[in-house]
């Protein structure tokens, strides 16, 4: 679901296979005046990124079918020279380690509340 780009509106790419989570985050971020790009796995995300200017932030789930977070970040680094900050969203006990694995800018542990989630986005978006 794409919304038209407005002045100063920031774009966030969400990569998340869990449909309910993806939908809620998308609804919430739109209500917070973000433009949202959604993908269900790393491969879909790479396709979107090829046709878009770099988003202000990427929200990345790690465990996904087709192409997981690790594979995505590897391909992303290989294919793109101008890269966006990445915040990892993970249900793993070692969220911090997962973020470090792929040299992400930050992480958020599932489950989480929307307010601190929004704060984190504002802190790391460019």
């Amino acid at each position: 679901m794409l919304t038209p780009v407005q002045n100063n509106q920031k774009t966030i790419l969400i990569i998340e296979d869990e449909l309910d989570i993806l939908n809620v985050l998308q609804d919430f971020l739109i209500s917070e005046n973000y433009r949202v790009l959604s993908s269900l796995n790393g491969l879909e995300a790479l396709k979107i990124l090829k046709n878009e200017p770099p988003p202000n932030l990427i929200l990345l789930d790690m465990k996904m079918p087709v192409m997981n977070g690790w594979e995505f970040s590897k391909e992303y680094r290989k294919q793109f020279s101008k890269r966006s900050p990445i915040v990892v969203m993970t249900a793993a006990a070692e969220a911090q380690d997962r973020a470090a694995d792929i040299q992400a800018n930050s992480w958020i542990e599932k489950p989480f509340n929307l307010e601190p989630f929004l704060e984190k986005i504002k802190k790391f978006e460019i």
Binding site: E18, D20, I21, V24, S31, A91, A92, K110, N113
Partner: protein, 521 residues
């Protein structure tokens, strides 16, 4: 003895008389001061001379015995000996180192060695005998001690419960004890001089033989070697020995023997092996369970996250005056069901592991059970093609319907989960002689053979890896297997990569079919 021979020497007889006298005096002194008792007697056994050593040995003074019969020195039961000795003497023969007993003045028995020679006069006539008597009591005692300890050593060697043997420095068998014989069922086979590693104790395993051979080589270098080894008895029983080979060396470090010995530690060993395998099992179980806990936590977090986010977003909308929609509630319901399913799986496994599941068995028609279930199932999945092939008559099974339905829905859910939405699923029910077989076939990617084996076990790599791709705890098939086995049935699969998988279970038919009225409602 030499005295006599010298007296007898014809050349000496013709020498000067003085010289002869001088010589006799010298010889008399030698006799007198000899350490051995020297006694002479005539052919009637009458004592003629008695030296100082004889006096010390027997306790008689010369005047006590000279002129008396030699028989006072002979124990009554040995009197015959004197006769024999005299007979030899009369023939001019010596009797040397004759071991016997003699009696002292104070009636002590002595062990003695006696040499008797004839005494010949100037004219070559035998006129008597001289005896040299040596006290060998101490020697006898020593000998007896040696014999006793030799016997003791032999007993220890033979009767030891240990396997004991003696090898040449080259490692060839010289001797082996009773225990060693018992292991091979006796000693009728001649094993002497055979290299130890080729003996029948070690024929059951090339590895064991190699180990024995290597340790013999080490022992030949002078090393003491010790290790545990197995041995097969002639009855085919495998026993474990705490085994050692000791090189026995002389003062110059030259190896004289190799001594292999071994103590039966089979019982201890089997406890040890049990403990090791129990420890390994427990360690593996801990690793697997902690991995499982990670997965369980992860899998629970995902629906909890969805649930919590949906609620939070609905709350925000409500705050702005936007009503909660039916769709939101449906999504919440579906997430909460997912959470319950995970929790139920966890509880089931916990109960199964504690053997705490009681089946509520009742005879009922398995076709009705599945048909009813499939009606609802199909409504929820309008795009899925589900074919149900079943016989036209009722099939009664003595079962816990809730549990059997749990297995059926688990297999059906798996088939849906691992295949695209438009891929068909074939369900078939066949009645066999004493069982009913339920098969659920999908046309998905199939399961690699190495994962198939572990699929029905809990917390295994196979079940965890497949789980990782789909969500869930990977316990469904384990729980299903336990339920089917509790029903006295079996569960399995046939799968081919790229073609799909067929899961089936088979449970026994009810012994008696209840009357049609009560079941056809």
């Amino acid at each position: 003895m030499n005295i006599i021979e010298k007296n007898n020497d014809p050349l000496k007889n013709h020498s000067s008389f003085d010289l002869e006298n001088k010589e006799s005096a010298l010889l008399a002194a030698i006799v007198q001061y000899s350490d051995d008792a020297i006694i002479s007697k005539n052919l009637n056994g009458i004592i003629q001379s008695w030296n100082a050593a004889a006096q010390r040995l027997f306790g008689y003074l010369p005047e006590d015995v000279i002129g008396k019969s030699i028989t006072i020195l002979i124990p009554p039961d040995r009197l015959k000996e004197e006769e024999e000795i005299i007979n030899h003497i009369k023939k001019g023969e010596r009797v040397e180192h004759f071991e016997t007993k003699r009696v002292t003045k104070d009636s002590r028995l002595l062990d003695v060695s006696i040499s008797t020679s004839p005494v010949i006069d100037k004219f070559g006539i035998i006129i008597g005998a001289s005896k040299i008597v040596r006290d060998i009591t101490d020697i006898k005692i020593k000998l007896r001690e040696i014999e006793e300890s030799h016997g003791l050593i032999k007993v220890i060697f033979e009767e030891s419960v240990q396997f004991m043997s003696i090898l040449s420095p080259e490692g060839n068998l010289i001797k082996y004890n009773t225990t060693a014989k018992q292991y091979i069922g006796g000693d009728e086979i001649n094993l002497l001089n055979i290299p130890f590693w080729l003996t029948p104790w070690w024929t059951h395993s090339e590895e064991v033989r190699e180990k024995i051979h290597n340790s013999i080589l080490m022992a030949k270098q002078g090393q003491f070697v010790r290790f545990d080894i197995s041995l097969r008895t002639f009855e085919g029983k495998i026993i474990f020995l705490d085994f050692s080979i000791k090189p026995v060396k002389d003062n110059n470090d030259k190896i004289l023997f190799l001594i292999p010995e071994g103590r039966d530690i089979t019982e201890r060993k089997s406890i040890e092996l049990d403990l090791i395998s129990a420890k390994e099992f427990a360690e593996r179980a801990i690793v697997i369970k902690s991995r499982f806990l990670d997965i369980a936590a992860h899998e629970l977090r995902t629906p909890v996250t969805s649930f919590s986010l949906i609620v939070q977003l609905a709350q925000k909308k409500l705050d702005k005056g936007i009503a909660v929609t039916a769709d939101t509630l449906l999504r919440l319901r579906s997430q909460s069901e997912r959470i319950s399913r995970l929790v139920v799986d966890l509880l089931d496994v916990s109960r199964l592991e504690r053997n705490a599941i009681n089946l509520k068995l009742e005879s009922s028609d398995i076709l009705v059970l599945f048909s009813d279930y499939l009606i609802d199932y199909k409504i929820l999945r309008p795009n899925r093609e589900i074919n149900f092939v079943k016989p036209n008559h009722q099939i009664f099974v003595n079962m816990d319907s809730v549990r059997i339905l749990q297995v059926f829905s688990n297999l059906l859910d798996n088939a849906c989960k691992y295949t695209p939405d438009d891929s068909p699923i074939d369900i078939s029910i066949q009645e066999k002689q004493s069982t009913v077989r339920v098969s659920i076939k999908d046309f998905g990617p199939g399961i690699p053979p190495e994962q198939q084996r572990e699929l029905f076990s809990p917390f295994t790599r196979g079940s965890l890896e497949l789980t990782g791709r789909s969500g869930g705890l990977g316990l469904g098939l384990y729980v299903s297997r336990m339920i089917i086995e509790l029903h006295g049935g079996s569960i399995g699969l046939v799968s081919q990569i790229g073609k799909g998988s067929l899961f089936y279970f088979e449970i026994p038919l009810a012994q008696e079919t209840p009357n049609v009225n009560s079941s056809s409602k």
